[in-house]
Symmetry: C2
Subunit: 228 residues, 2 copies
Amino acid sequence: MASDMTLYWGSGSGPCWRTMICLEEKGLSGYTSKLVSFDNREHKSDEVFNINPRGQVPTFKHGNVVVNESLAICLYLENTFKNQGTKLLPDDPAQQALVLQRAVETQPMREKAVLGPLHYFLDTKTKPEDRTEELLEEKKKACHGELQIWEGYLAKLGDGSYIAGKDFTLADVCLWPFLGTLVRVGFDMSRYPHLANYYDLVKGRPSVQATWPPHWKGTPGKDTLKGF
Amino acid sequence: MASDMTLYWGSGSGPCWRTMICLEEKGLSGYTSKLVSFDNREHKSDEVFNINPRGQVPTFKHGNVVVNESLAICLYLENTFKNQGTKLLPDDPAQQALVLQRAVETQPMREKAVLGPLHYFLDTKTKPEDRTEELLEEKKKACHGELQIWEGYLAKLGDGSYIAGKDFTLADVCLWPFLGTLVRVGFDMSRYPHLANYYDLVKGRPSVQATWPPHWKGTPGKDTLKGF
């Protein structure tokens, strides 16, 4: 139990989802859950700004310790609760190196495969007049180039593997929300068979199911990236 | 000594510089240093691609362990050589949380304060016809908003502090190259007195001096961000 923990989070945010999966995996349920509404800009409230000058979620507090960046929160939880719940960072230096690298590599994954494509269709990020065929091709190339890299990692590891080997680790915690988001917005993952298998494998995990974005439940996904 | 280590790196790359500072701080000099030329696209050579599918530097090898993302390399080196050289990650959970958070926060620092402004002036990133007063103001706002956050962190810590407290840590390793780059391209840091003091403090550090980008030595800086 984690009664001395508070998490500010938004439904559907990849970085928030990471944090929540990590908390579940470490057996840290029971924290004070503060769901903020992005539509009402509650992440820009004084309550959040008081402990996070960026006015972002996740914002996380454990006793007097404040940690606000999702990767930092996950590393902090793993280091602080090393012997509790799922071991997310292996002791073996070579395995640990791989997990850390894949976890950090989810940053280009997020930018190129998720935010790049989604921002192309968002007026506040790409002006309608800038939405050219040329730019679309550029975004597609970056997205598929990135997914090809991850598909290659999984192809080498073999069926049934997690993203850094046979065990579920911090790298999966960091990667999953972005795959979940892609599928939610209509991206056809079947073009990447290893990623599609991986998606199914991780989707069924109790920590993932327990933290599924509430506003996704019982509502149809979007088709923003259908055919992308 | 680190005779079983190889680092592929490029002069002036912030992520490469981080890795090199970290190696120095951990007492791991003597590694095989492979300086690649960005102009000749040597980071896209088979030699790099063979161990890094992204064709990027830093690319790092320790025995049979390959790690390629700068933050992952630094965490790997700190975890593997915990009791050697500078202690870059404190044991105390609260202090460690702060160091991890600041280290990860150097990602928005890089994007908003360094790459955003520099890409505005780069034809391959911003077409000359898109270079409007409105976009310039947007980039300036993002850059200064970001620097104000870091200035605030230092203001709270007091003069002579490193970025996460009284000791030099992983957070400084991750932050420094971006400040170094800003000053190199003409950014006037004196508008941020705490950051300017911090710049002077870290600049003199032996690990930073030993790894100063070779092509910066004896050549004048640029004035790309003069008056930005």
